[in-house]
Point group: C2
Chain length 206, copies 2
DNA sequence: TAGATTGTTAATCGATTAACAATC
DNA sequence: TAGATTGTTAATCGATTAACAATC
């Protein structure tokens, strides 16, 4: 297999596979098959095998996949064997919840810097970290070499801050503000907006 | 246009169009084109016109789309003209942030019931609502006729609660627990897991 | 061996896009 | 009228699936 372009849609499924496999491992399961994993995820077994085949051969005919081995391989493929340090901008209710969320650590991420522009919050401590002033975003992110940021500020401020994150060399932004960001194409953006998901569902609910 | 099946992927883009159009309207803009909207969203103009064509004709040649009219139509299509009452299960940090989030109201949703199984939380007030005991989920949701639930409980409890939500007649679950739920096919499920999005991005970040 | 399951090929299916007549 | 943009068709592109040889 040569240096082939991996479809985005395939990349998008890998973390879902990883999450399900990790859970199986936690439950003490050692081996699974594309059939079993597919049934659990509502995906065809052929699709799982095809997706994995973009990256190598990880299974054994007649047997299936060693879960721990496949987990390792997916972590390597997704670049999450080592822990990423992540900055958080915006310490409202949501930002606070993210800072305190303990589900990041064992999946490859750790929030190590938090920013807010509210003078009443700057200098206080959240999840053991001092809240830094948003004016220091560029300097601090550069100094710490951070590449990934979670953005939990109001919609009206998101684009302006995104611009500064790009300036600081950030490569990936997880945007919780309900607004589309414009960034250079080498910067990854993912969106989390619960209303989008709710509206997707209400289409089908009468 | 007859009773044709609308592709899921099309339905998934409509809320994104709606969000962008709503923002344009807030900015005082009256008219837009598929070209302008597409550029803002990073989508081709042809795709936007094709998507909308599943539901009717909303534009005018040479001119484009009346933003307010298109917003109304999308709200109608997505079934969000009237406000949906939503239940929230799980009042940890995240649940609390959701209960206090003021971005739901003007987009068609309102949390009107909150549940938790922690005796220390039951009976307290969150965002003006009493925290109800999780043991009452089925009865309360049935009594109030709720159809949509946000699930913000630990992964280990999510499937069990989902089962009870299904029993209570819930039709749509927005699941924040990092685990795949198994539900009957007539029940909609959407997932929000920040780590999935982060891992999708780190694939591209070296 | 018999049964199970992989990785891969080719066929099918579905989504996106280019192009353009219609028309504002 | 000239320019712009829609809605739609047909072509292209890409993703999913069925099927099966290989083999554990």
């Amino acid at each position: 297999m040569s240096i082939r372009e991996i479809p985005d849609i395939v990349v998008g499924r890998l973390p879902v596979y990883l999450r399900a496999l990790t859970r199986m491992a936690q439950d003490g399961q050692l081996i699974t098959s594309s059939k079993e994993l597919g049934e659990r995820l509502g995906i065809s077994s052929a699709q799982i095998r095809k997706d994995l085949s973009h990256f190598g051969e990880f299974g054994k005919q007649g047997t299936g996949y060693q879960i721990l081995y496949l987990v390792e391989q997916l972590q390597r493929i997704l670049h999450t064997e080592a822990e990423w340090q992540v900055a958080l901008v915006g310490v409202g209710d949501l930002g606070r919840a993210l800072a305190n969320y303990n589900g990041f650590a064992n999946r490859g991420f750790r929030i190590t810097a938090v920013f807010d522009n509210d003078p009443a919050k700057v200098g206080t401590t959240i999840a053991g970290m001092p809240v830094l002033d948003s004016s220091q975003i560029v300097d601090e992110i550069r100094a710490r070499g951070l590449r990934i940021v979670m953005l939990a500020v109001p919609a009206g401020r998101a684009q302006e801050i995104a611009n500064r994150l790009v300036e600081a060399g950030v490569r990936a932004i997880l945007n919780y503000a309900p607004i589309n960001l414009t960034v250079p194409k080498e910067v990854q953006v993912q969106y989390i907006d619960p209303v989008i998901h709710l509206q997707r569902m209400t289409f089908y609910v009468t």
